[in-house]
């Protein structure tokens, strides 16, 4: 789960990591109020979960209330597309922050290194821009330090990292303290990524986190109720929102073939096979292990609420999931909702014969059966009317 900048900064404040003074503003009116309280100049910053906001016009400096109001009104509702084509995301809220005189920009992050199975601290004396490019062109400029899984990051190690990265003497102690704080926050809040880009030196030589990218491990939310509440506010696509409320893993895609699979791997593989058959999947939906009739009805409801969907493919290989349960879910959902889209069912694994028998006894005429995954993909592409272009 990714946090918005303001949510990340509020988390930093809680743990004593220095951030500029700022306030969250859900609308233009409260943005001006916040700016008045903070004092001008202020930065009016769009809160969206992608990089490249500044370039897209999502960050503006206001030197008085009129400007603050104008910027806030312009930015709220703005559509921002990420540098890699992500989105577009509509700006729904703002972060109003004291304007900072920036003397220097560093880059600092802590990330879970999956390969090393350790937290990794990254630090560069050059920040605020494309660090990937720096890492490539001048690898020594980006210092990498693995955190000992037992001892954590010791003070002398943090100071050494700052020295190696070429952080000037006068800010090195502050930067070292921030690195230690990053590791502590990652552990305490179950963050798999915290990135400060830039970590800025502002007036008076104070080092502050000017931006915040934070990813929280979704599996840890049971012990962070306050972060779990934030997840409900992230908004987004209506189908994705509906799926989240129903506890389903759903990702919206831009095609017209609804896909229902069990298990993330099989579901991804199903999308690939549908694409190979010339079709365009409308979604990824993993019903998970042990899906029962109720869950299948929820899933079908989410999939078919996308008006683009012309046909639905069920690809189930039962392990924990039982074929007869899946069949009952499909029958009940179809009967209750009156879904008349063509649906292709491929059932294999635990109790699949019982499931197929139930489906054929049901007499629902928009259901089609296929024995193999490839056959099912080809059938659903045909029923959706070809490539969907």
């Amino acid at each position: 789960m990714d946090l918005l900048e303001y949510q990340g900064k509020e988390l930093f404040s809680k743990h004593g990591l220095p951030v500029p003074v700022g306030k969250h503003a859900p609308d233009a009116e409260s943005a001006v109020e916040a700016a008045d309280q903070i004092g001008y100049p202020v930065a009016v910053k769009a809160q969206v979960l992608i990089g490249g906001r500044g370039k897209a016009g999502g960050i503006k400096i206001a030197s008085n209330a009129e400007e603050a109001a104008a910027h806030a009104e312009a930015i709220i509702g703005m559509e921002i597309t990420g540098p890699h084509g992500e989105g577009p995301f509509t700006v729904g809220e703002l972060w109003i922050e004291e304007g900072s005189e920036i003397e220097a920009e560093y880059y600092a992050s802590v990330i879970l290194d999956r390969a090393a199975k350790k937290l990794l601290v990254l630090l560069s004396a050059t920040g605020g821009m494309d660090v990937e490019a720096i890492a490539e062109s001048d690898p020594d400029a980006l210092v990498r330090h693995h955190v000992d899984p037992v001892k954590g990051l010791a003070e002398d190690e943090a100071v050494e990292v700052a020295r190696k990265a070429g952080i000037p003497e006068e800010t090195a102690d502050q930067v070292a303290a921030i690195l230690i704080s990053l590791v502590e926050i990652a552990k305490a809040e179950d963050a798999t990524l915290i990135e400060l880009n830039p970590l800025a030196v502002v007036a008076g030589g104070k080092v502050v986190a000017l931006d915040a990218k934070v990813t929280i491990d979704g599996n840890s939310l049971f012990r962070h109720p306050e972060l779990a509440d934030l997840a409900d506010d992230l908004g987004g696509d209506p189908q994705e929102e509906m799926a989240r409320r129903k506890g389903l893993t759903y990702v919206k895609l831009d095609g017209d073939i609804g896909v229902f699979g069990n298990g993330a791997g099989l579901c991804m593989s199903t999308l690939d096979v549908v694409a190979q058959a010339g079709g365009r999947p409308a979604n990824f939906l993993d019903a998970g292990g042990g899906a029962r009739a109720e869950g299948i009805m929820d899933a079908l409801e989410v999939i078919t609420s996308d008006p683009k969907v012309k046909a639905v493919l069920f690809n189930i290989f039962g392990g924990i999931t039982r074929g007869d349960e899946v069949a009952r879910g499909i029958i009940e959902a179809t009967e209750r909702s009156g879904i008349d889209l063509p649906m292709v069912v491929r059932l294999d694994g635990t109790n699949s014969d019982e499931g197929l028998a139930l489906l054929s006894e049901s007499g629902i005429d928009n259901l089609h059966y296929e024995k193999t995954m490839l056959g099912a993909a080809e059938k659903v592409v045909e029923l959706a009317g070809g490539s969907g272009e």
Partner: protein, 290 residues
């Protein structure tokens, strides 16, 4: 032979008295696994259809000689259950539980490594050695003993490929689900090394998916260390490019984690990659026959 679980496996199930624990523990027993004990704190002295339940893993080990533990307890307690098994001297810990916080796994991973314990999972379907033992939730009835080792990040996709292999007439030495979480006890390379040493395994099918760089590291490892042929499958070519959060991920792995990047890395080392589960099985059978 076969790897990780076999006829010498003596299984203790953490969470045997729970719904999932009893269902799968008993199923594993029906499939021929020696299930010797269950552990549920506070329920010591009870039994589940004849399987004795103990309060602690240590008691289960000393009373029954358990050497393998299956973890089927809810996520908040899963890493603790793994730690307890490691402390009790269990040699192989197989964690099925889905949803374990990754910070918990960072600690438990190193604890297992330091103790020399083989940890599989979490969030995995377990390990099946057809005809010998099944520890986990893999539907054993779809697999037969044979020469192909399978190692996979995904559960249901493994069943799909195993089933296709079976229909093509090839059985399996062992099927190992390593789990798809960011930190798992054993990576592809750990399991590939075991298959290389296993005389019953003639070739290996590796099933990966998008995210991380375990497949890229496996490609390097295979090229340098394996004599047995490997055929791979990668899921997720049509997955949407995730929204980019920060740069640190791509910097440290040097990989974008996409299916294409993984396929390219494998093919660059001469490893054939199937386009679909069906094609992967076809290639595997062809490699085995050739």
């Amino acid at each position: 032979m076969s790897i990780i679980v076999d006829q010498d496996t003596r299984l203790v199930v953490a969470g045997l008295t729970g719904r999932e624990g009893s269902f799968h523990g008993l199923r594993n027993r029906e499939q021929g696994t020696e299930v010797v004990a269950g552990v549920t704190p506070g329920k010591g002295g009870q039994d589940v259809e004849g399987i004795p339940v103990f309060d602690t893993v240590a008691e289960a080990v000393s009373e029954t000689g358990a050497n393998t533990s299956m973890i089927l307890v809810p996520p908040p307690f899963a890493a603790g259950a793994m730690d307890e098994a490691i402390d009790a001297g269990i040699g192989t810990v197989i964690a099925i539980t889905e949803g374990v916080p990754v910070m918990d796994m960072l600690d438990t991973y190193w604890k297992a490594r330091d103790a020399g314990v083989r940890l599989i999972g979490p969030n995995c379907p377990g390990v099946l050695s057809p005809g010998k033992a099944n520890v986990g939730i893999i539907p054993a009835e779809f697999f037969e003993a044979g020469p192909i080792g399978v190692v996979s990040k995904s559960g249901t996709l493994t069943y799909q490929i195993g089933n296709e292999l079976g229909q093509a007439g090839a059985g399996n030495s062992s099927i190992v689900g390593i789990g798809g979480d960011p930190v798992v006890g054993s990576d592809f390379v750990d399991v590939l090394a075991l298959f290389e040493e296993d005389p019953e395994t003639e070739m290996i099918v590796m099933v990966g998916e998008i995210g991380g760089d375990a497949e890229e590291r496996a490609a390097e490892y295979i090229a340098e260390n394996l004599s047995k042929p490997v055929v791979a499958y990668i899921a997720g070519f049509t997955a949407p490019p995730g929204k980019q959060m920060g740069h640190a991920g791509a910097i440290i792995s040097g990989s974008s984690g996409t299916a294409q990047a993984k396929k390219d890395a494998l093919e660059a080392k001469g490893i054939r990659v199937g386009k679909s589960p069906t094609e992967t099985a076809t290639i595997a059978v062809e490699v085995l026959g050739g």
